[in-house]
């Protein structure tokens, strides 16, 4: 049992060490370091997961005695925090952004002021907590994150400043684990801002004008999110006299102005998760190298935002208008970004909109705040992280080999890059089609949304749009002339052996969905929620569902087996396509529902509605105090 806390702490420290080591090294040595540390991190993540599951306990806490040298931790984090905020001020100044500088200064003032009032170096009762929710995120970060780092070794060949790149990637993994495991809100804040710093430098990496502008925008928006976070934390520490997450969420009598804590943390989470109206930074961040998009902007960092909102679920539940507003915001994000993805032909932007949409779905589920919806949120979180990471990596391979990010130029990719095409087909199918995990999450979320029926309209439009833009893209990839495929492409092993395990992981996790639900997710709900086994949610995921999901898998497997093995198209059966007999090679363009003008209109509409609602969430605590 002592192993679990040690592994958890190692998941924070090991990547940090790796990052620091990777920075000054030469190329070859750095490759070895990154590979070694990635392997180690995967091992740590996997071992932690297995041990935790085997142990069977709901939560493992690391208090004072589990930390080793308490002083090192406490004083280290305090000092680093102040240094970090100073660094962020400097970064804002260097990017010539008044907005960012002001935000960083406000953060510094708030935190310094609070700590000097409270007393520096306060030791938390429970420093780190490993529970089922945190474990999901740590596992994804360690395993998928490390695979992405390995992928990046090949991807970044020939690019400049690799030392800085890998340093920040590994540092980020450590910070992400730290943020998710933290129970002390100030430590959470520290790790949160470390991820902001990493995100800045990783978006900034190519140092083109576009990259600099996007990094600046990301800094501005996420720093103000950090301000919201700081306000919430300081209020909790000042008025509610607690800085620890478990104590905070256990308090069942938060009311009135004290609700500003969950509201502020919600808004902070929204900026991190790039929800509408804060979505522009994520779209801009797509100029970063593709492993960055996969790591930060789909699999891990944006999940930090929804993680914070998830933690606030019990508190949001205390005031119904607040939780309803959260749900509506999430649903509008989902529907709006799904519609916007229809208008885009740049595949990374399509995937970015899809990410924001799925995160919006998670936020909506948290807002609905029933046992079934929280289970749905976790499902979507897990499966989206894995599938989207894989999709981004595949897009990176296409970008590298064929030098294009435009869907219109990706026709016939199944001839040039068959392995990658199959991976993308699997990834896209796993995003929307039964029996994969995201389908289970969406299904649960629709069932849960019957509690708030006005959301069903947005859900319906959003899921229909999701099917359209993925099918459009996959259709483009597989459309080809009659010529049989050429010889297998020679993909670098770094690409093959990172994409293949993730693909296999998606299938494995999807097959295990009923077990994940019953055995894992149901046990994960915080205090104050009905036991899912007693509610209607259990009907959905009871023993019956094993058979349904099994039946679907079986049918699909049989269909695919029959199709792939028993169907042959010999040369003598092959014919040309029908072009009225004309000897032409058809060239077809895709349909982009409306183009730039529609996209701008829709964005403006969604941003204004959601900005209003976000302001409403901040005003609701005040209103509940007065009313």
């Amino acid at each position: 049992m002592d192993l679990i806390p040690t592994l958890a702490l190692m998941s924070i420290l090991l990547p940090t060490l790796g990052g620091l080591l990777a920075f000054p090294m030469g190329d070859r040595a750095r490759k070895g370091v990154v590979l070694a540390f990635s392997a180690a991190i995967i091992f740590v993540g996997g071992a932690l997961t297995l041990l935790f599951l085997w142990d069977g306990k709901d939560t493992v806490t690391i208090g004072e005695d589990g930390l080793g040298s308490v002083d090192a931790w406490v004083w280290g984090i305090t000092a680093l925090d102040i240094a970090l905020m100073a660094a962020l001020i400097w970064l804002g100044a260097r990017s010539r952004s008044i907005v960012a500088v002001v935000a960083a200064v406000v953060q510094l003032v708030l935190i310094l002021g609070f700590e000097s009032w409270k007393g520096f170096g306060e030791v938390p009762v429970v420093a780190f907590t490993i529970d089922r929710l945190a474990l999901v995120l740590v596992a994804v970060c360690c395993i998928i994150g490390s695979l992405i780092a390995i992928f990046a070794i090949q991807y970044m060949e020939g690019r400049q400043k690799k030392g800085r790149f890998f340093a920040f990637v590994l540092l980020f993994l450590g910070a992400m684990n730290g943020a998710v495991l933290s129970n002390d809100l100030l430590w959470l804040f520290f790790f949160w801002e470390v991820t902001t710093l990493c995100s800045f430098y990783l978006i900034y990496h190519d140092e083109t004008d576009e990259a600099k502008a996007s990094a600046r925008l990301a800094l501005e928006i996420t720093l103000w999110g950090g301000v919201a976070l700081a306000v919430g934390i300081v209020y909790a520490g000042w008025k509610l006299d607690t800085l620890e997450l478990d104590q905070l969420t256990a308090s069942a009598d938060l009311a009135g102005i004290a609700l500003i804590v969950p509201a502020m943390l919600f808004v902070g989470g929204m900026t991190k998760a790039a929800q509408v109206p804060f979505q522009s930074w994520l779209l801009g961040a797509m100029v970063a190298p593709t492993p960055v998009s996969a790591l930060l902007h789909s699999s891990t960092m944006v999940n930090l935002g929804v993680y914070a909102i998830f933690r606030m679920a019990p508190l949001l539940k205390l005031y119904t208008p607040l939780t309803v507003t959260v749900a509506i915001l999430g649903a509008i994000s989902f529907a709006a970004t799904a519609a916007l993805a229809l208008t885009q032909s740049n595949v990374k932007r399509v995937l970015a909109y899809s990410t924001i949409g799925n995160l919006g779905l998670i936020v909506m589920c948290v807002g609905i705040n029933t046992p079934a919806s929280l289970v749905a949120a976790v499902f979507i979180l897990l499966f989206h992280a894995v599938s989207k990471g894989m999709l981004f990596l595949s897009v990176g391979v296409i970008d590298h080999e064929v030098k294009t990010k435009d869907i219109e130029e990706m026709g016939g990719m199944s001839e040039k890059l068959p392995f990658v095409t199959w991976v993308i087909v699997l990834g896209a199918i796993s995003m929307m089609i039964p029996p994969f995990g995201l389908f289970a999450g969406k299904w649960l979320s629709v069932e849960a949304a019957t509690n708030m029926p006005m959301l069903l309209l947005l859900l319906g439009v959003g899921s229909a749009a999701t099917i359209i833009y993925y099918t459009k893209w996959v259709g483009r990839l597989i459309s080809r002339t009659e010529a049989p495929p050429k010889a297998e492409e020679h993909l670098s092993p770094y690409y093959k052996y990172t994409l293949a395990p993730i693909a296999g992981g998606i299938v494995l996790l999807s097959v295990l969905t009923p077990f994940l639900a019953n055995g894992y997710a149901f046990e994960m709900l915080p205090e104050g929620y009905a036991d899912p086994h007693e509610t209607a949610a259990s009907d959905l995921l009871a023993t019956d569902s094993y058979l349904w999901i099994g039946a679907i898998f079986l049918f699909m497997a049989v269909g695919m087996f029959v199709g792939l093995s028993m169907i042959r198209v010999d040369d003598k059966d092959r014919r040309k396509v029908y072009t009225c007999g004309e000897p032409i090679e058809p060239q077809v363009a895709g349909h982009y529902f409306g183009g730039e003008a529609t996209a701008t209109l829709l964005t403006d509409l969604a941003v204004s509605v959601c900005a209003g609602l976000a302001i409403a969430t901040l005003l609701l605590p005040v209103i509940s105090e007065v009313v």
């Binding site: 069932e447 069903l456 309209l457 359209i468 099918t471 002339t481 009659e482 699909m556 269909g559 077809v588």
Partner: protein, 291 residues
């Protein structure tokens, strides 16, 4: 899990295509008579399938055939699961999966008609899916569950507007004018099915029949009665009524453009289902008095 019922469901799934084929034959006869001509024999669709099965194999590439197989698999699965009593929402997602595979099958060949047809099929999807979802929600409101087991409640009395909206969806799904946009037969020659022939065209047609069977099964949910014989007769009647309405509309209207189709189905369909849901909610909350 009631194993007997599963066996019954499998048997019904096996004979369903023949029933739908007969209904299609009736459709062509009635259409012919409406157009003041004789029309083909009632079993014509079966003859068509038999003929298609005996043609030699001709195809463009293997991918289209594999995807068509997946489409048919998902159609059969959706229908079987409906009979076996699965959650309506799972069936909704499997239907959308089937539509996605059908579209991909059309995209897999680089033929202008096929690609256009697939794009239009996607536009159809965005037109009817939200309406279908809200229709299922209406059913949930009245019966309290998403399970597809037949209920004793006479849903058509509770949900007449939703039934009308489902008529719109039925027209789209069955590729009937004015919404037969994807397989717009004289416009884009055959849409996604154009590069299929022989056995595989027969297979795709059977896939369509299973989808039609599923839609009819959903329509049949709208009649319920405690007495099993009355219920069976009523369900049959309501399906035939729906079928007749579809034939009538098919023969009296011209095809809409795809943008018009999406707009009409979405606006009217959503309006009808939302209003009906609100009315049902109002009656249940006793805001509106109802005997």
């Amino acid at each position: 899990m009631d194993w007997l019922w599963l066996v019954i469901a499998t048997v019904i799934t096996a004979i369903a295509p023949f029933a739908v084929a007969y209904l299609q034959g009736v459709d062509r006869r009635i259409t012919a008579r409406m157009q003041n001509r004789v029309g083909p024999p009632l079993l014509q669709p079966i003859y068509d399938i038999l003929k298609l099965l005996s043609k030699t194999k001709v195809a463009v590439n293997k991918g289209q055939l594999v995807l068509a197989t997946m489409y048919v698999t998902m159609s059969i699965l959706a229908f079987w699961m409906f009979l076996a009593g699965a959650d309506l929402l799972i069936i909704f997602f499997i239907l959308s999966a089937a539509a996605a595979f059908y579209t991909l099958a059309g995209y897999a060949v680089l033929s202008p008609y096929s690609q256009l047809g697939s794009t239009r099929e996607l536009i159809q999807v965005i037109a009817y899916e939200p309406v279908l979802l809200l229709a299922f929600f209406g059913i949930w409101l009245v019966t309290g569950t998403f399970a597809s087991e037949a209920t004793d409640k006479m849903l058509i009395l509770w949900l007449p507007l939703t039934f009308a909206a489902l008529m719109l969806v039925l027209l789209v799904k069955l590729q009937k004018s004015p919404y037969d946009v994807a397989e717009a037969h004289t416009e884009i020659v055959g849409g996604p099915e154009i590069e299929y022939s022989g056995k595989f065209l027969a297979m795709v047609k059977v896939g369509h029949w299973y989808e039609a069977a599923l839609m009819f099964a959903i329509i049949s949910l709208f009649f319920g009665h405690p007495n099993i014989y009355v219920a069976f007769a009523g369900k049959l009647l309501i399906v035939l009524l729906a079928w007749f309405i579809v034939i009538l509309v098919d023969n009296s209207t011209a095809r809409l453009r795809f943008g018009q189709m999406a707009r009409v189905v979405l606006t009217y369909g959503l309006a009808l289902t939302v209003v009906n849901a609100l009315l049902v909610w109002a009656v249940q909350q006793e805001v509106i008095p109802w005997p």
